[in-house]
């Protein structure tokens, strides 16, 4: 393998996952070199783990086989950025933080705020479908992604979508790679639409006695004319609701007032410059406990909060309007997972383990469409070399 040649900088131990260490690593600097690595690996049935900055490797299992760590961070170029067209195309190894800094120079941004270090790469964030609180107002990365170039598991370089904001040519296969955790192909480039930075962003915070009271306030804060761009309820020793508004200064000002009024019964503060506040408000980082993500239809959110809390005392981050909850359970509570999943399924929801001890059932029962998913993987990764054994479609 050409790109496996001497790269003395990093020992293979840097790429350890669980108790597995790869024999080799590759750091291709071009998409052609990346494709060559994958094609050769497919030929020799060499198991590959794609790497960005490694900030979200924890959301899937360690690989069942692990021969080569494929580090994509040398694929870090901007291919095109035309501010007037509100479109940017970058290589997948570029950190999101670098992309945001570049856009900010032109008064633009990707309203995408996954709770990760600024070094986290575009490719890794897309592969793991990372998202942040701004998803409420702006949608997740799926809504901003215009196209991709991907190296499939047999080394083919395939692209889909395009570089314009509207495009119905071909299948939107880039959506299949979003959140596929690298099991269908390795993302090589991504094209996004971007948008002007808002004139002002500011937040209201309110402390509530119970999650139920905070959820009622959150529902009021989502009623027109209020349009929060982010809304979280963090339940620890306290219950803290934070609502973020963005846009023209006067419109933000009115919404702050209305939101504060909706929280009149609580202890409320308005945070005028809220960037540090939201930067600090990370999703719960992994620790030795269980980090769950539960998704339910919005109407089942309050019941789900009660359910999770009744089974084991959690720390929670609730995302009203998105139907999503991040929950940290003590590791002993893993025994309640089957019951939780059964009850959530009854409400049209699910729970996955984003971080937990080795061997835990991360996904629960596979979806009824699992055979289609397996058939797709079989087509694009026939040798089964991409992240084997790590994700739902193993």
């Amino acid at each position: 393998m050409n790109s496996l040649s001497a790269q003395p900088m990093l020992p293979v131990a840097t790429y350890a996952l669980g108790d597995r260490v790869p024999q080799q690593f590759a750091q291709p600097a071009t998409i052609a070199a990346l494709a060559e690595v994958v094609a050769t690996a497919a030929h020799t049935k060499t198991a590959i783990v794609p790497w960005g900055a490694g900030t979200r490797q924890f959301v899937v299992d360690p690989p069942a086989r692990y021969d080569v760590a494929l580090d994509l961070r040398r694929l870090d170029r901007v291919i095109e950025y035309h501010p007037a067209d509100l479109v940017i195309m970058v290589e997948a190894g570029m950190p999101l933080g670098v992309v945001q800094a570049l856009l900010a120079e032109r008064g633009q941004w990707l309203p995408w705020d996954p709770p990760v270090p600024a070094t986290a790469t575009i490719g890794g964030l897309l592969a793991t479908a990372a998202w942040g609180p701004l998803r409420l107002g702006y949608g997740g990365p799926r809504e901003w992604l215009l196209g991709m170039q991907v190296v499939l598991g047999d080394g083919r370089i395939a692209h889909s979508g395009g570089r314009v904001v509207k495009n119905v040519a071909g299948y939107d296969t880039h959506k299949l790679h979003l959140g596929a955790c690298g099991t269908l192909g390795i993302i090589a480039t991504a094209t996004f639409k971007v948008t002007p930075l808002p004139e002002r962003m500011a937040s209201v915070q309110a402390i509530w006695p119970t999650p139920a009271a905070a959820l009622r306030a959150a529902a009021a804060i989502r009623q027109p004319p209020l349009q929060p761009v982010a809304l979280t309820i963090i339940v620890t020793d306290t219950v803290k609701l934070t609502a973020r508004f963005a846009g023209g200064a006067a419109a933000v000002e009115r919404q702050l007032g209305l939101a504060a009024a909706a929280c009149a019964a609580a202890e409320t503060v308005i945070v005028a410059d809220d960037h540090a506040l939201w930067a600090a408000q990370q999703l719960l980082p992994p620790n030795h406990g269980l980090l769950l993500r539960a998704g339910v239809p919005e109407s089942a959110l309050a019941a789900t909060v009660e359910l999770i809390t009744s089974l084991a005392q959690p720390d929670l981050t609730i995302f009203p309007g998105l139907g999503l909850i991040g929950a940290r359970w003590p590791v002993e509570a893993a025994a309640h997972l089957p019951a939780l999943r059964r009850m959530l399924a009854g409400m049209g929801g699910y729970a996955v383990v984003e971080s937990g001890p080795a061997g835990i059932d991360r996904w629960g029962d596979p979806p009824p469409t699992i055979d289609l998913m397996r058939a797709l993987r079989q087509r694009w990764d026939p040798a089964g070399i991409l992240n084997p054994g790590r994700w739902l479609v193993a």
């Binding site: 949608g139 040519a169 979003l178 469409t369 699992i370 739902l392």
Partner: protein, 481 residues
């Protein structure tokens, strides 16, 4: 084959939903543009997902082509049964099953008319955001199949951004649910690839779609120009100023007079170009943006800026825009509509090129299009009775589309590939890309019975099918762009 197919259908399902008389079948041989025609062997109009599945199973067992159809307003031949076989009309699956104002979502059958959903959601202050010009006729299922756009997609996104889940009948008759009312349910995003797949991966019979709150304030303007470049420069300037209008439409040349003749909304017949600009949102933002837009229009040389004075006038301006294609029948009896997209900054050169192409091929072309997202709709107008008119139109059309591709754009922004542009797909995708698309198709429909020979170039999904390159449609009945 035909007799076998009909006999098998009659055995498997209620004969009341089977149409087979020639005069019945004729209604299903064309779509909204209609030069591509194909007579189905038989049509079914099922009332339930189970009936759709039963019909699919029967046809698939016989290897008959299966073409799903909503309202037939498509402009690329996607619902035309070019290979014969079975047409499944979803027209009877027209119930809105539930509207959930808390979740801001609606569960609908796929034959529900786009506008009917927004009307039903209005009591909750909500609407379905995708607004193709055909919305008073076209169905949610058809919108999903083509990933339909519309003027307000500039701000609110296209259909794929508004579908949460769908019930899909696969080629083997299996009924699956893709997507979920719960965000990020584990698994590949099969829904994402089914939206926009033009019935080649399966038939959507139900969908869970997002509803969007109606804006607090809306302002609509008509900016009038004597100079084409000034109008397109204004479009770029508005976007560069950081404003994403709800809609930013342009009408050029003769099309303006034709639209005005049809609706009398105050479109100035003598203008070189007009912009129809709509902004919406919170009232403070709308007020600020209205001032900014007025100032930009003046700065970039608008002759006049008119504001819609009331909802009636606004509705009239939009009726003019959305009925533009039909209005242009006043100019020439036949037309062909293109749907290329370019990066917004390349609009001026593409508009100039369109005019040069029109001159060179001696054909009338009017452009009535979604300027804000660079989605051109050159409308080629001609009279088929004139010798060579058709050939000149084909040549002009391809030249414009190639220029869109050369400018970094694409061959279809919202109408779809269908029959019309399948052989142009190679202009923007290489063999490896097309092979990956064919892989997806093979996973969902190994026998290739679902809307065969559409969307992908002949050869990649469709062996041994003859069709004219760049099949061109021309008709004189109503359609929408």
């Amino acid at each position: 084959m035909k007799d076998d197919l009909i006999a098998a259908l009659l055995r498997a399902i209620d004969p009341a939903i089977v149409l087979r008389r020639p005069e019945e079948l004729m209604l299903y041989e064309y779509d909204g543009s209609a030069l591509d025609q194909g007579m189905p062997e038989v049509v079914v109009v099922p009332r339930t997902t189970a009936e759709v599945a039963a019909c699919v199973k029967v046809a698939a067992q016989l290897g008959a082509p299966i073409v799903a159809r909503g309202a037939g307003t498509g402009l690329a031949g996607g619902s035309v049964p070019e290979q014969g076989g079975l047409v499944i009309s979803l027209a009877r699956l027209n119930r809105i099953l539930a509207i959930d104002p808390v979740a801001r979502a609606a569960r609908v059958q796929s034959g529900v008319i786009n506008t009917d959903l927004s009307l039903a959601a209005a009591r909750y202050g909500l609407h379905f955001a995708p607004d193709p010009s055909s919305q008073r006729s076209s169905t949610i299922g058809g919108n999903i199949a083509t990933n339909a756009g519309g003027p307000h997609c500039l701000k609110y996104g296209v259909t794929t951004n508004h579908v949460l889940a769908a019930t899909v009948v696969l080629a083997n008759g299996e009924v699956i649910e893709v997507g979920s009312a719960a965000a990020d349910a584990p698994g590949y995003d099969l829904l994402g690839v089914i939206v926009g797949s033009e019935g080649t991966l399966g038939i959507v019979t139900e969908a869970l779609v997002k509803l969007t709150p109606n804006p607090e304030a809306v302002r609509t303007f008509l900016a009038i120009y004597d100079d084409l470049d000034a109008a397109s420069a204004t479009v770029s300037a508005i976007i560069a100023r950081g404003i994403i209008p709800a809609a930013l439409e342009m009408l050029v040349g003769q099309g303006i007079a034709a639209v005005e003749a049809a609706v009398q909304a105050g479109y100035p017949a003598d203008a070189r170009a007009v912009l129809l600009i709509e902004i919406d949102g919170l009232r403070e933002e709308v007020a600020t943006q209205a001032e900014q837009i007025a100032s930009l229009c003046r700065q970039y040389g608008a002759r006049e800026l008119r504001a819609a004075q009331d909802e009636a006038q606004r509705a009239k301006l939009w009726a003019g825009r959305k009925g533009a294609l039909a209005a242009c029948a006043r100019i020439a009896p036949h037309y062909h509509i293109q749907d290329g997209v370019v990066p917004r900054s390349r609009l001026p050169e593409l508009l100039r090129l369109t005019e040069a192409v029109a001159d060179r091929h001696q054909i009338t072309i009017v452009n009535i299009f979604h300027a804000g997202d660079g989605n051109l709709h050159p409308l080629l107008l001609f009279d088929l009775r004139q010798p060579g008119a058709l050939e000149r139109a084909v040549a002009a059309s391809e030249e414009i589309l190639q220029a869109c591709v050369a400018a970094g754009g694409t061959i279809s922004g919202e109408h779809g590939i269908g029959i019309e542009k399948r052989d142009y797909l190679g202009w923007i995708f290489g063999p490896a890309d097309l092979a990956a698309f064919a892989d997806v198709r093979a996973v969902f429909d190994p026998a290739g019975v679902m809307n065969p020979c559409k969307l992908l170039p002949s050869g990649s999904s469709c062996a041994d099918i003859r069709h004219a390159r760049g099949a061109l449609r021309a008709i004189d009945r109503g359609a929408w762009i």
